[in-house]
Symmetry: C2
Subunit: 142 residues, 2 copies
DNA sequence: ATGGTTATTGCAAATATTCGCAATTGTATG
DNA sequence: CATACAATTGCGAATATTTGCAATAACCAT
């Protein structure tokens, strides 16, 4: 479960500079118990210091995603949601009719992960993925 | 394989009005052999008539996605890609390190589809999904 | 401690997408 | 055919995200 110190160590090891801005942003993310939008992270950071720019938030999130330390997920709300591994693994099922979001158990992805690695050498990030479709209610109607 | 007439019939049956704008937009999508971004669809439509607004393109795409007639996919390029069922089913595997996009066979999703339906009553749209992770090259390095 | 290098940042602008609203128009009804 | 209703549209503005650039600063070597 990555905490702030763990995250900064990994990033330093990979050649990134640990700036004050990044420590604050990583602190905001690490202290959250749910995934957040960029705007929510920005608001949390602004509560601490108003000098950090929203562009820096986006750049830091992009860095975390590229390093596999966070996931960027589209839940159909018009903004992306970000989660680290401390937020646990699960699938977001989003109904394209009513917008309901159902959290599904991660185990359904085990076979998929195995076959993508075996067939393509591809190691998917499946800790937080979102799948669109029809919920039980709307699946019955269609 | 939905063509223009097929698409308009489905939409009319579901209570949508078939406007001239929609026919042109659907025509642009139906005559494409690959998924396109909203900007690409807009450019194709502009080649035919310059009166259709980009907001109308987005509204039409949202309608198609909500009705399950198109999929909205994030390939990490900074814009969403849209595909209909005529574009065939496959998985887009996007490397978060180098951005490479690998098309994987759809069969890996069969079990997932079955278990989501059985366990949650959720019918996922899996014709075009994108999964981020590490390609064979970068998976070896990590 | 100092200087150099280059990664990083704030800011403004640009891009992709969505929203509010008044005007337009497709469809249904008489 | 005419009318009414409400869905749809164009337009401008707003929002979410990304980009370019000059200034700043983290890190390393001396």
């Amino acid at each position: 479960m990555p905490n702030l110190e763990h995250l900064t160590k990994i990033l330093r090891d990979r050649g990134y500079r640990i700036t004050a801005q990044r420590e604050i942003i990583l602190g905001a993310i690490a202290s959250s118990d749910d995934h957040m939008s960029a705007e929510e992270i920005y608001a949390k950071v602004q509560a601490r210091t108003s000098t950090i720019d929203i562009a820096t938030i986006y750049r830091t999130l992009e860095m975390l995603v590229e390093e596999g330390l966070a996931c960027k997920t589209n839940l159909g709300t018009g903004e992306f949601m970000y989660a680290t591994f401390q937020h646990g693994s699960h699938i977001h099922l989003i109904c394209r009719k009513c917008g309901a979001v159902i959290d599904a158990d991660h185990s359904a992805l085990a076979k998929l992960e195995d076959s993508l690695l075996a067939d393509y050498g591809f190691r998917p990030d499946l800790q937080h993925i979102s799948l669109f479709g029809l919920c039980a209610k709307h699946a019955q109607k269609g």
